[in-house]
């Protein structure tokens, strides 16, 4: 039996769950949550079954004709190769853990069914992106992901901040998507098809100007810039933390924001070396900028959000450095440990009664041991300490940078040091020392339904670098020579042999970061940096005033345009056009009505006049 039907089920199960919850089971909290969780867990199990039956290779696709407009044939199809299959596994796997965790985290919320309906819709959309075999389908699911992200960020829409953050995320993403759509249309115009394989062929046979291809590639990159929150469209992601914490973990750390990177790898063939250089520098700059900002944030979720931005910058940089394998590898390990960190943060936030300021926590290590230790694992993985997964993936990127661009290698090393610094700052302040608030003093460990996903994710954060993920991506994506480690031991020490420089610098960065964090924060009662850095610290706290800058330029200009259009609509269209016509017509009606006096003599007279009129016209 051909197992190709299984991914269709995996794709549509969450949609089914979302529809059933939205239409029928809104009143039943348990059933709604069960449906949603069941759909995604079943998806995970089916993914395993499918990979078992099908194997990772060879790459192939199944599709049905969806619509034909002129000579545009749009298919709805699924593409199977190591890239999409592994991504499918990650999405369903991480989503399963987070769905289960949500059950505990959101159990008190009165709109729980709505939450799970949105979450299932998101899972469906994300799987659609992963499995898409053409640009049109990718774009549709891309937008669906945007919508579900909007719904979930604004989940607590009674809070103005949440509603605004939802809007901000959606609109910023739309900006990037506009470029993305232009890129897709360009590709269609030049290559006559939207299917990835055929566009790939078209690019290989491209005989036109080189720079045209570069433009097309950069337009498509705009889409990734929006979704993966790259500079200058990075402003939405930190605000998106207004959503429930599991949402932050699933959408704004592990999966959706990674969709941009995934898309870049999926259509890697379209990027010319020039385009890749731009991509690498934008990624590197984003990584550095966000890491610097993260150093002076006090909100636990915002620290993690800027860290996510920074790591996404890493991945984009890796793509730009001809290393989609490394990008996807880091994406995978990052999905595990960042989801873990967010869920750990959620556990802490719940324990201290929705307090998010790390300076009001402290001393949580003893009160929440599981949360602390799993959080610690996530931190070590993120910092890149061997043998945690983050070490291997980050090392791959640094090695790639060392090979292609020295400036970017330096940027990477600095970011690595900063990452270690701000993560240990977070750990020292929030978990160690003494409790700084009453809530922190009475904190308790979270229930098992929340703790178990932490343990599972922690496990993968530890071993993620050693289970052959990189090699799997390498079989498909490697544009250059990739080493195949043969044994576990060789895998463990692989990086030390292949790229000793990168490993050395990376480890040095970790040590420097840790030492600085220890010196400044191990015993600190309040943040010592503002005094030391002065204005720089203020700028970091205020995120280098990007929001204010956009407010003063883009939004001011936009408001002006809107005011002008509003004036035109009110005064010219509605005033002169509509009201003028309406008034004249109505007046004419009222005037004509006067003819209808109800008086019979008048009627007869008018009738006779009419006869005279007709006679005049006929006889003259």
């Amino acid at each position: 039996m051909n197992p190709d039907f299984i991914p269709w089920i995996i794709l549509f199960l969450p949609l089914l769950a979302a529809v059933v919850i939205a239409l029928f089971t809104q009143h039943d909290r348990k059933l709604s949550a069960g449906l949603s969780v069941g759909a995604v867990v079943a998806g995970f199990v089916l993914s395993l079954v499918f990979i078992k039956l099908n194997g990772w290779a060879p790459a192939h696709e199944v599709s049905v004709a969806w619509l034909t407009i002129g000579d545009l044939q749009a298919d709805f199809g699924l593409h199977f190769d190591p890239l999409s299959l592994l991504m499918m596994l990650i999405v369903t796997g991480v989503a399963s853990a987070i769905h289960i965790y949500s059950w505990g985290y959101m159990s008190e919320d009165r709109s729980l069914p709505r939450y799970f309906a949105c979450l299932s819709l998101f899972t469906f959309s994300m799987l659609g992106i992963v499995l898409a075999n053409n640009f049109l389908q990718l774009f549709i699911f891309w937008e669906l992901v945007g919508v579900s992200s909007y719904l979930l960020i604004g989940f607590w829409f009674e809070r103005p901040a949440a509603a605004d953050a939802g809007k901000k995320a959606f609109i910023t993403n739309r900006l990037g998507d506009f470029g993305f759509l232009l890129g897709i249309l360009t590709a269609w115009a030049w290559f006559g098809s939207l299917n990835f394989a055929e566009v790939n062929k078209g690019v290989a046979d491209w005989k036109g100007e080189h720079w045209l291809l570069t433009v097309a590639g950069l337009l498509i990159f705009c889409g990734a810039m929006g979704k993966s929150a790259q500079f200058p469209l990075h402003v939405w992601l930190p605000d998106a933390m207004e959503g429930p914490t599991p949402v932050s973990a699933l959408i704004h750390a592990a999966t959706m924001v990674a969709a941009g990177v995934y898309m870049l790898c999926r259509v890697f063939f379209i990027f010319t070396p020039d385009a890749l250089t731009v991509i690498a520098w934008i990624g590197g700059f984003t990584a550095l900028l966000s890491a610097v900002i993260a150093v002076q944030q006090d909100d636990i979720k915002r620290i993690l959000a800027y860290s996510t931005l920074s790591q996404l910058g890493y991945m984009v940089m890796a793509v730009g450095l001809h290393g989609p394998t490394q990008a996807m590898f880091h994406l995978t390990t990052h999905a595990f440990f960042k989801a873990l960190l967010f869920l750990g943060a959620g556990s802490v936030i719940l324990a201290v009664h929705h307090e998010q300021d790390i300076w009001k926590m402290g001393g949580l290590r003893t009160k929440m041991p599981v949360t602390f230790w799993t959080f610690m694992v996530g931190t070590l993985a993120l910092a890149g300490v061997p043998p945690f997964s983050g070490f291997y993936s980050k090392d791959g990127i640094l090695a790639q940078a060392a090979q292609h661009s020295l400036p970017l290698f330096v940027v990477g090393a600095v970011v690595a040091a900063l990452t270690t610094f701000y993560m240990f700052r977070l750990v020292f302040v929030a978990f160690l020392g003494k409790s700084r608030s009453e809530a922190a003093g009475h904190a308790q460990e979270s229930p098992p339904v929340m703790v178990w996903p932490l343990r599972i994710l922690a496990f993968f954060s530890v071993v993620g670098g050693l289970i052959g993920i990189e090699e799997l991506y390498g079989t498909q994506l490697a544009t250059e020579h990739t080493e195949h480690a043969v044994s576990f031991g060789q895998q463990l020490i692989g990086p030390f042999i292949h790229a000793p420089l990168a490993v050395g610098v990376g480890l040095l960065a970790v040590v420097i970061g840790y030492a600085a964090a220890y010196a400044l924060y191990a015993k600190a009662a309040k943040d010592p940096l503002p005094e030391k850095l002065g204005a720089l610290s203020r700028a970091m706290r205020n995120r280098f005033y990007f929001d204010e800058l956009y407010q003063a330029t883009v939004i001011r200009f936009h408001d002006f345009l809107a005011a002008a259009a509003d004036w035109f609509d009110r005064c010219v269209i509605a005033g002169v056009g509509v009201r003028g016509t309406h008034g004249t017509t109505e007046l004419a009606g009222r005037a004509l009505r006067l003819l209808q006096t109800g008086n019979l003599q008048t009627y007869a007279f008018i009738f006779a006049l009419g006869v005279a009129l007709v006679l005049y016209m006929v006889l003259s």
Binding site: Q596, L600, I606, F607, V614
Partner: protein, 484 residues
């Protein structure tokens, strides 16, 4: 002489007389139900017409009474049209019966006699039969209009209709006399042979113009529309409905016959006259409807505008235009009758049939509200309803004539402007139903089974004619084949 050709008329007359006879023996409470008998009878005659009456291919026109009476495709089309209209109106009348103090059986019978007049009109091939059938319709409507003798408005409407109608009849009969005086014939067939030579005879044209006045009165076209709003408002609702569809369609049947069978050579020179009458009717009807609050009066003005729309097809002077008239009338039948049925049920006991009386109708009876919404949308010409496709056909016919006479472009523009204006008041009705200003009477309205079926039929008809126009369009094309 061939009496079998008159089977429709004879059957309807027999049904009407039978009803009057039965009335003598029937107890009073049962009389109301006679309407169902009448409707069933009309329904059977309609089935008979559809399945048993066919024109032999060898002779597409058959004559009776020395060529006074012609049975051709056009006649058959209109006969079925009138039978269907009468069927729905009779069912509506049963709902209305409790508002008629006495003589309900006569009410039904008079409707049947008016119907027989319409059936005769559709076959008129002679000015004598034209006049007789016209009077048979008009005189019965005089009585029907004032049937609610206890209501002053009903009586007033009857009197107004009578006096203006008599005036119009006087003009018509004078015109017929003049035409006969010059041409020595009343028969359309003979007239068509000689009309061309009288094209410059002022007395002949004078006579013809006066006949047109009579027909213009029937279809309520400008400048003979003056009676319509008052009579529509005052008459009992089923009578208004029958007036709006049956009487108007009879006028158009006769108009088509006179213009395109009797004197086609002269008609060809009247494009200016027809364009002006059509355009002004559209503007007048639509503009005056804007300030109306009384729903029946509003529909009265709307019917003037629709006479103008229908005249578009006549003014186009082409086969496409004529078949568009038939098509538009068919859509208009379902639309107008469903609107009046809703008025009949929903505005029971509302003084002055104020539009506000519809407030909250979607809660009192969703079916009625939906029907009314669809009817208004169809009248306004919103796709995919019958009114849209009908207007499309009419305008298409007019635009096609554009190259021959620039007036046709002006007419098209006028008609489009009229459609836009009409959206305002038609949707005012819809707004009154769904977004009432204040709390209204929310008692549910009981819709009887026959009426429910009728409404489903009308909705089906509106949608079917809007979505699948080919069948009826083909029939209409066949029906107007012999006109030129």
């Amino acid at each position: 002489m061939n009496l079998s050709l008159l089977s429709h008329e004879l059957l309807v007359l027999a049904l009407g007389l039978g009803l009057l006879l039965v009335d003598l023996w029937l107890p009073v409470p049962a009389k109301r139900k006679l309407g169902y008998v009448a409707a069933a009878g009309v329904g059977l005659i309609l089935l008979y017409s559809l399945f048993c009456v066919q024109l032999p291919a060898s002779s597409p026109v058959q004559y009776a009474f020395g060529q006074m009476y012609a049975l051709d495709g056009l006649a058959l089309f209109f006969k079925r049209f009138f039978l269907l209209a009468a069927l729905i109106v009779l069912l509506m009348s049963v709902e209305f019966a409790d508002r008629i103090a006495s003589g309900i059986a006569e009410f039904y019978a008079l409707m049947l006699f008016a119907l027989s007049g319409m059936l005769f009109a559709s076959s008129a091939n002679d000015f004598a039969l034209l006049f007789v059938s016209l009077e048979l319709i008009t005189v019965t409507f005089y009585v029907l209009t004032s049937f609610q003798r206890a209501r002053v408005t009903s009586l007033e409407a009857g009197v107004k209709y009578l006096i203006i109608g008599a005036l119009s009849t006087a003009f018509t009969v004078y015109g017929i006399a003049l035409v006969y005086g010059i041409s020595h014939t009343l028969n359309f067939g003979l007239l068509s042979g000689v009309a061309a030579q009288y094209g410059d005879n002022k007395i002949f044209l004078f006579g013809l113009a006066l006949v047109l006045v009579g027909l213009g009165f029937k279809i309520a076209a400008f400048p003979f529309q003056i009676w319509a709003p008052d009579v529509y408002q005052g008459a009992p609702t089923p009578v208004t409905a029958f007036l709006a569809i049956g009487s108007k369609a009879a006028g158009f049947a006769l108009l088509l016959r006179v213009l395109f069978i009797a004197v086609p050579d002269i008609t060809a020179r009247w494009s200016n006259l027809l364009i002006i009458i059509s355009g002004v009717s559209i503007l007048y009807g639509n503009l005056c409807a804007i300030p109306q609050r009384n729903l029946k009066r509003l529909l009265g003005y709307s019917s003037i505008a629709h006479a103008g729309y229908l005249l578009l097809g006549v003014a186009a002077l082409s086969a496409a235009g004529r078949s568009a008239v038939l098509y538009y009338l068919s859509g208009y039948l379902f639309t107008v009758l469903s609107a009046f049925t809703v008025i009949c049920l929903a505005l029971r006991g509302v003084e002055g049939e104020d539009v506000g009386g519809l407030a909250g109708l979607h809660r009192r009876s969703p079916l009625l509200a939906a029907t009314m919404t669809l009817a208004m949308a169809s009248l306004a010409g919103i796709p995919p309803l019958a009114g849209f496709f009908g207007k499309f056909l009419l305008l298409k016919a007019v635009v096609e004539q554009g190259p021959t006479h620039p007036g046709y472009y002006c007419l098209t523009f006028t008609a489009l402007a009229g459609v836009v204006i009409s959206l305002y008041y038609y949707f005012g009705v819809v707004r009154a139903m769904y977004w009432p200003g204040e709390a209204a009477d929310l008692s549910p309205i009981v819709v009887s089974k026959p009426i429910r079926l009728t409404l489903y039929g009308c909705i089906g008809g509106m949608l079917y004619l809007g979505l699948f126009p080919n069948g009826l369009l083909e029939a209409a094309n066949q029906a107007v084949k012999l006109l030129r």
